[in-house]
């Protein structure tokens, strides 16, 4: 997967432009184009007024006939038309001249009003503002000089993921159909500037504006709630930038299959993943708990450990795509399932109860009293809540799982104390976060369930002991000359143990509150290594811990005098001169 270790794009790489992409005209030409008529009217009015003033006979101070010159006429009209008014020059006007001036004053007022009115209308114009916004957006994107991810769809999933990625210091660019969501980008608390464009992601040009062809674009995430749009984004990315990794979200296996036809996108199916998660939860509650904790992103609280019943009969309401996936997963775990479906299938099956789940009679037929688990899996939150309430009234001992579709209803579901809640947006966001944050975390999560529930429970104990209730960002360190220059000699001469590495730079008898989650050596991953594990040059280690401990470890890794104290207990001078004089080992 692509992470920070991926080769950085070289500067020499060029933009990949869509051939048909045409940049809009510069803003100034847009204004000029719309201002043609008012400007011509203004010029004409000025010309007529000035010409009239020069033609109408006047009289000088001595009473001799005199005509106004062009210069005086233009001067007079300029200050009169702009309502400044310095009086009549060079001589007092005659009646004829005054008559003409009255007419020209009203004409120029109309001219100015028309011109300024047109300009203001233009600035208020929606099309004009969109053109301005697009221009600003493309410029901002083009100026990005660090790797960024292109996110299509800034709904609940996009927001959750964007926030987690932002905390990790990754740049993102957002495209969404809704202008409101894009406006919300400015209000959301992001550390980095997040450029957003309101536009249809199905249009390749929109993606092109958002930097699909940008040399620093490192990946495309299709996260809209419309499978069709996600498919289009996957297709566009695969055809225009085949080298870019793509992660797409879908709920339909058919779309998943069609996406796979274009390159090799990573497809995340929320229902499928929830089923897998529930299976892990059934088999190993602690493994599931650890997985959710690590996936939830920086600052996640330790989730509760659920205890789903491992034997018995489950009742499931809402037999759509989600219901089907979950039924198959529960059956695979050896549980029997009774489904309440609103419409009868083509061939009636004994385990399907046809009817509306909210009716008491239907619930009775499903025999909830003797069931152990209940799933409210319709796509309507109100229905789900009332189903859960009804089921609990019949059998308070039930293990209840429910699907939450809209973010607004979260407090209601929290008040109901659902045992296992599926929020599709969160499942997708967590999954993608785990894949994107660092490749080692993804490796850890894939291999962790095989180690068993007891191991996971111990791991949670260790993490809880060292990191507290909230898990901060995970980070990866490679023990090589670049990441750990101060350790080269220690690693080469051995024996190097994790225990020595994690001593505190202030007092080496103390241990840093850091938990190593995984060591990757020659493609072999060791999960949850203990403190006695031997380290070798080139090891990649995934750590969890507080930011201040991370900084302390960084000192050990990079500063020679610190590492000498931490590893060997030797106090060595930190300046080069004293090191030479005392012949300290380097």
């Amino acid at each position: 997967m692509f992470g920070q270790d991926e080769a950085r794009p070289r500067k020499a790489r060029r933009w990949t432009r869509i051939a048909a992409a045409v940049q809009g005209p510069p803003t100034v030409f847009l204004i000029l184009r719309r201002m043609r008529a008012p400007l011509i009217v203004l010029i004409a009015i000025f010309a007529i007024s000035v010409l009239g003033l020069t033609l109408i006979p006047g009289r000088d101070d001595a009473g001799q006939p005199a005509r106004m010159g062009f210069f005086d006429a233009f001067y007079f009209m300029s200050y009169t038309a702009t309502t400044i008014g310095y009086g009549e020059i060079p001589h007092e006007f005659t009646g004829a001249q005054r008559l003409w001036v009255i007419a020209s004053i009203y004409l120029t007022v109309i001219g100015w009003a028309y011109a300024i009115g047109s300009l203001l209308t233009l600035l208020q114009d929606r099309a004009f503002r969109q053109a301005l916004a697009l221009r600003r957006f493309t410029r901002t994107v083009a100026r990005i000089r660090e790797p960024f991810l292109l996110i299509a769809g800034y709904g609940q999933t996009g927001r959750l993921l964007g926030r987690s990625l932002d905390i990790l210091g990754r740049r993102i660019v957002v495209v969404d159909t809704s202008a409101e969501r894009v406006d919300a980008l400015d209000i959301d608390a992001y550390r980095a500037d997040v450029p957003g464009l309101a536009g249809d992601a199905r249009n390749p040009r929109t993606l092109d504006h958002a930097g699909l062809g940008h040399p620093y674009c490192e990946g495309v995430l299709a996260l809209t709630d419309d499978d069709e749009v996600n498919l289009a984004v996957t297709m566009t990315a695969a055809l225009i930038r085949p080298d870019l990794p793509v992660i797409a979200r879908t709920v339909s296996p058919a779309i998943e299959y069609r996406m796979a036809a274009f390159g090799s996108p990573t497809v995340v199916n929320a229902f499928d993943r929830y089923g897998d998660h529930l299976r892990i939860a059934l088999r190993a509650p602690a493994s599931y708990q650890l997985m959710v904790w690590l996936e939830s992103g920086p600052g996640a609280r330790l989730p509760r450990r659920g205890r789903p019943p491992r034997a018995g009969r489950w009742v499931l309401c809402g037999y759509g795509r989600f219901g089907r996936e979950l039924t198959a997963d529960l059956r695979a775990e050896g549980l029997s399932v009774t489904v309440i479906d609103i419409v009868a299938g083509p061939e009636p099956e004994p385990w399907v109860v046809v009817g509306d789940g909210s009716e008491p009679g239907v619930m009775a037929r499903a025999d909830l009293v003797n069931a152990v688990g209940f799933v409210a899996g319709t796509d309507n939150d109100t229905t789900n809540l009332s189903l859960v309430a009804a089921a609990r009234r019949i059998n308070p001992e039930l293990f209840v799982a429910s699907r939450q579709n809209r973010p607004e209803t979260a407090p209601l579901f929290a008040a109901m104390e659902i045992d296992s809640l599926l929020v599709p947006a969160e499942v997708v966001a967590h999954e993608i976060y785990a894949q994107l944050s660092t490749p080692l975390l993804w490796r850890f999560l894939r291999e962790m369930p095989d180690l068993g529930d007891r191991w996971a429970a111990d791991m949670i104990e260790r993490l809880h002991l060292h990191c507290g209730n909230r898990l901060q960002a995970l980070w990866r360190t490679t023990l090589d000359a670049e990441d750990a220059p101060a350790l080269t000699r220690w690693l080469r001469d051995g024996p190097a143990t994790m225990r020595d590495l994690l001593r505190h730079p202030d007092d080496r008898d103390q241990r840093l509150d850091i938990v190593p989650l995984l060591i990757l050596r020659d493609g072999q991953a060791t999960l949850g290594p203990d403190d006695d594990v031997a380290l070798r040059p080139g090891d990649q280690i995934l750590f969890a811990g507080q930011p201040w401990d991370k900084r302390a470890l960084l000192e050990t890794l990079t500063i020679n005098s610190v590492s000498q104290y931490v590893l060997h207990g030797r106090r060595v001078p930190s300046s080069w001169v004293w090191q030479r004089l005392t012949h300290s080992p380097r």
Partner: protein
């Protein structure tokens, strides 16, 4: 036939003809160069410039550029004329008139290019 094209062609051509009318005659003889004609040339040139705003084609861009050059030259000519009549102690003598007319001659060149462009555009336009 589109009215827009008629108006556009009319103003471009009128700008050139007025400019030519002012320019023709002995360069240093004020009696041969009418100030009203210069005024009309400036106004018509300005209108022609505004008419060319916002055309995104290559030829449209060159049109606008020639017009801007003509405006610049003509406004310089009017400034020279203003200087001679209002500020300079010598008044509108042969020397001052020569500079006014030569500036308008530059504008005439730009206007001729404009007309040539108009003709080129018309000839290359084929109705299929």
């Amino acid at each position: 036939m589109s009215l827009e094209k008629v108006i556009f062609g009319f103003f471009v051509l009128l700008a050139a003809t007025l400019n030519f009318g002012f320019f023709i005659g002995d360069i240093d003889d004020p009696t041969l160069h009418n100030e009203y004609e210069l005024f009309a040339a400036v106004v018509v040139n300005l209108i022609a410039t505004v008419l060319k705003f916002g055309d995104r084609t290559q030829i449209g861009a060159v049109h606008l550029a020639t017009s801007l050059v003509a405006d610049l030259q003509l406004i310089a000519a009017t400034l020279a004329w203003t200087w001679a009549t209002q500020i300079s102690s010598n008044g509108l003598d042969g020397e001052a008139m020569a500079s006014v007319v030569s500036l308008s001659g530059g504008a005439l060149l730009a206007n001729i290019v404009s007309v040539v462009l108009l003709v080129v555009e018309t000839v290359s336009f084929q109705r299929r």
